[in-house]
Amino acid sequence: MSEALALPTRKDEAFRYSDLAALETLWPVPRRDIHVAAGEQGASTVVIDGANDAAQDIVITLEDGAEYDLRLLNAGSAYGRIAVRVRLGKGAKFHLGAAQIAGGQQTAEIVTEVVHAEPDAISSQVVRSVLGGKATGTYLGRVVVARGAIGTDGEQSIRAMLLDRTATANARPELEIFADDVKCAHGCAVGELDAQGLFYLQSRGLPPAEAKKLMLQAFIAEAFVGAADEEALTRAALQALEALL
């Protein structure tokens, strides 16, 4: 998340699990600024699915009552990093739906900092990671509730699925709350595909890869549900999943 021009080190929490060698070739990371005026709405989708490494910093400022819907698909690059910093004004709303799909030696990471600067803002973040091979998938999500930002409602749902025991998932939800009367919830889980469910699907005739794909499709669906381009995102995610299985 640092905007400093010096390359970060592992001591920098936001880069603790990064592929620093890959990051160096991308440094400084291009920054995109999004500004949504009071009462306005916006949405965008970022997909990293090329063969090349990619990193992006996205900085979103939501004025009072503004709303933003951000969807991320981080899949298919040797190194893919998306960092998002959001500042919510009074009564603003922010939703993040993100999926990371990585296999082989890939490193995928999403780092967010959501700042509830004023009262009554709502943020929700859904992040789903599917990791195979020796891939590393990281989600670092910080929610900051500023002094006086009463009536804040912040929610994080973080889940990672490991297809192989050799893959690594890092998930770190972080709350910094300086106000009373706020609602902040987070759920975080790392698991494997349900073996009983897999056998059930296979017993009906689905080959193992198809059965896994169906379950993983369902797993990441929550990240894209309700997106304007839900179908295209799902298609792109399925392609990435197929490459993993």
Binding site: D194, A195, Q196, G197, F199, Y200, L201, Q202, S203, R204, G205, L206, P207, P208, E210, A211, L214, M215, Q217, A218, F219, A221, E222
Partner: protein, 247 residues
């Protein structure tokens, strides 16, 4: 059709099936009854190929093909259907999507053309109606939020759609109220009581057999079949208990 010879299987290194032999011909309905822990569910899972159920001896063939050498999905394509005692909930995956993919995967491996969306929905509707199930329920995620009875009826709808040669139904009657029991029983008869199909019912109780009349009844105890007979054997078990009859 299904020929099981001296089948031995272990679960977590513990021997459960200890030399089970059973032959089921086309057109027959067999019932296996037995006390808890006799190995009834293990028999179903072993024939279905569930991971963790290790065959340590014997054989099982379906129309001459070695069932035990096949992957679970290949067994399904070969014509085996396993009705689960506890159908698994799979959030986010709808019945119709899953069943269409499963049916078409089976058809593909048999060299048949896939069912179109319309063809599949017509088939699903027909089988759902047979089990008095609302099609809307099949648009929901697999078994999620279904009552015990609805899960079992959904199993029978799946059986109807997948149209197997042989169905092994593990305690399909458990968790059913009287009406659902009758509906499931009639469904089994409508789908499977045919000269080219066969059924193996695994059950504790006589009550399902009132609807699906078996040609043969077997008592499973200690991992092997200890007694076989006609439908009267089930009544005898109901009256006197396993210990008295199988002793």
């Amino acid at each position: 059709m299904l020929k099981i010879e001296n089948l031995q299987a272990t679960v977590a290194d513990k021997p459960i099936l200890k030399g089970l032999s059973l032959t089921i011909n086309a057109g027959e309905v067999h019932a296996i009854m037995g006390p808890n822990g006799a190995g009834k569910s293990t028999l179903g899972y072993t024939l279905g190929g569930r991971p963790g159920y290790e065959v340590t001896g014997g054989s099982a063939t379906l129309d001459g093909a070695d069932l035990l050498a096949m992957e679970p999905h290949e067994r399904a394509a070969a014509g085996l259907f396993l009705g689960f005692q506890y159908p698994v909930e799979i959030p986010g995956v709808s019945f119709v999507q899953f069943l269409r993919e499963a049916a078409n995967a089976q058809r593909k491996s048999r060299g048949q053309a896939p069912l179109s969306g319309g063809e599949f929905l017509r088939l699903a509707k027909e089988k759902a109606a047979l089990l008095r199930m609302d099609m809307e329920m099949l648009k929901r995620p697999v078994n999620v939020g279904f009552s015990g009875g609805e899960k079992k009826r959904a199993e029978m709808v799946q059986m109807g759609i997948l149209d197997p040669k042989i169905a092994i139904l593990d305690e399909t009657d458990s968790g059913l109220d009287i009406d659902a029991l009758r509906i499931c029983g009639e469904g089994i008869n409508a789908i499977m009581r045919k000269s080219d199909k066969a059924v193996l019912l695994i059950t504790h109780y006589q009550r399902l057999l009132d609807y699906v009349k078996p040609d043969f009844v077997h008592v499973l105890a200690g991992g092997r079949i200890v007694k076989s007979g006609g439908p009267e054997l089930a009544l005898e078990l109901e009256e006197h208990g396993y210990e008295a009859v199988a002793a």
